[in-house]
């Protein structure tokens, strides 16, 4: 097995809800390779989003260790975790979360501005990804003028434009119809190959299952199954 991109060792996450402890994740051990295209599946409350939060550095585990490459997220300060997200992670959300007052170009440019890069230095990269997601004709449009599928393409472009090593997508097809869902998944699969970025989905959409190469099933905070396949076909 290649050196893992993410290594989860004995991850437990306990929330305090209504004065009582609630364990969202129990002793999770997972290795995620670079360029993965995988999903966390399971019903609501199974711990999918909590796991994405932890991998994305948005939250810290109650116990256990998360390693990104050689770095342990547990050793990072909040500002270092912010830097980790800025440099390594792209996020895709179910409801796109585009910035409504900016056009497509400006939305996709934003991650570079966060990294204090000048627009002139990154313009070509922004234009290139817009072309790759097929939105060049809509470049000057704002999110309110786009369809759901187009919005999600912008969100994907925004997540990938800085060429992160990992893209976390929470229910990326939940707001899309069947046709748009397939188009978006195909696009992400294509970009996964082009950009060498690992994609992790949190989903209970069966359409996603057809595309991923690995599926981790979660239930009540436990890993119930971890299936892999090469190419198209049934999981092993």
């Amino acid at each position: 097995m290649k050196n893992p991109l993410i290594q989860l060792n004995g991850i437990t996450k306990v929330f305090r809800v209504g004065g009582e402890d609630f364990s969202a994740l129990h002793e999770i051990n997972l290795s995620i390779e670079p360029k993965s295209f995988m999903s966390f599946v399971g019903p609501s409350g199974s711990g999918k989003t909590t796991l994405l939060n932890l991998i994305g550095g948005l939250d810290t585990p109650t116990s256990g260790e998360i390693k990104f490459g050689d770095e342990s997220l547990g050793d990072m300060s909040p500002d270092q975790r912010a830097l980790y997200r800025r440099e390594n992670i792209g996020f895709i959300f179910q409801s796109y979360n585009l910035l409504p007052v900016y056009n497509i170009y400006e939305n996709i440019l934003f991650p570079f501005l966060l990294a204090n890069l000048k627009e002139s230095a990154v313009r070509d990269r922004v234009m290139s990804i817009i072309e790759q997601v097929g939105l060049m004709p809509q470049i000057n449009k704002r999110p309110s003028e786009l369809s759901g599928g187009q919005c999600q393409r912008v969100a994907i472009a925004r997540a990938l434009v800085k060429e992160p090593r990992l893209v976390l997508a929470d229910e990326p097809t939940a707001n899309l119809d069947k046709e748009n869902s397939y188009q978006i998944l195909e696009l992400m699969l294509d970009l996964n190959k082009k950009f060498d970025a690992a994609f992790i989905f949190s989903t209970h959409d069966e359409k996603v299952t057809k595309f991923v190469r690995r599926e981790v099933g979660l239930e009540d905070g436990y890993v119930r199954w971890d299936k892999r396949r090469n190419g198209v076909g049934d999981f092993e």
Binding site: N53, L58, A82, N97, P111
Partner: protein, 433 residues
Amino acid sequence: MIRWLIKGMLRDRTRSLFPFLVITVGVALVIVLVGFMDGVIMGMMDSTAHLDTGHLRVVNKPFYDEEHLNPMDRALGSQKETGDWLKKNSDPAIEWSPRIRWGAIMDVPDEQGETRSHTPVMGMALDLLSQDSTELKRLNLAESLTRGRMPDKRGEILVGYQLARTLELEINKSVTLIGQTFDGGIATDNFTVVGFVRFGIFAMDKKMALMDLADAQETFYLHDMVTDWLGYLPAHVSFHEYDEYRSRLESALKALIDIHPSGWARDDLPMAVSILDQRHIRPIAEKFLVVRKFIIGIFLFLMVVVLWNAGILNGIHRYGEMGIRLAMGETHSRLILSLVGESLVVGIVGSVAGCALGGACTYALQEVGLNMGDAFAQSGLMLSDVVRARLSVGGFVRGVIPGLTASVMGTLIAGLAIYNRSEANLFRELEAG
């Protein structure tokens, strides 16, 4: 990033328009209020200074100590020498005017030359006849005449129009002034009343008479003497600075006295007082400063509260944006900093607009003024009937600083919620839309 943020502010008016309007109106109101209050207090001071006290006053100490008795024997001698010394040794911005305060009975004879009416009057003698006299303009005498003309030769006087009414005076009527001379004798002289003046100050209109300085020196035997040298500062000098001018002048006078002068101050003890030390003006000025600070403080507080709420509404409106920015790796402190940057831009633009609006209104109030004559009619204060605002750099500063402070503080307080926002819930929050 700054360009990107400004673009967002321009496109999303809910983000900038309301705070902009609050700051514009707040800054404008502060400028107008401060300008109006400055105008009232400085108007009062200028009226008092022009007619009575000067902004600075050089007077013989024995005269000052017993001023209520108007002791002419304690007037300052050597008028020309004194004037030359003051011009040479005081701030060049100060204009000096020699004056004589006098008091007398004004007797109005009937056709047979018998007393028809009489009344005590308070008088001021000043340079009315010189070609280059600055007093006429300072007191705005030509425009204040209700009847008659300005004196153009010796032996002519002006009286307050209310005084003229009380004594049933006519223009060109002769009156007799009966007073006390420098050396304690009785002074009597006839004068021709050539004009009635409306000073705009009730006490003056009812009791005041003006004569030329040389006439007073002759009538009261004050050869080469004056009771006061009144100093006038330019309009831009605020009353806060009067003490400084006074103290510099006082030091110069002290140095002069200490070397035992052989000249004009030989027999006198000249002292400098500012208007603040006369007519109980200092306590009024101090209270005015407190009230002004209070008003600015109230406006600052109100603007902070309104902008804080605007900031919270803005935070709610942009909840998703803030969330996505945190998720994408913007630190809390940088996020707050960018919001403060936005509020600073809004604050600056709003302050500029507020300055323009407030400045225009204050300028209009300065040029046109408000006629409060009816309200002041029974007042003994030396207040001009027309109250004018005063536009000053200080007024703008007092408007802009609360505007900018309120804008930034409102954002910072509202930003606390963003600062405390937990990233652990971002996915759920952002999915909620």
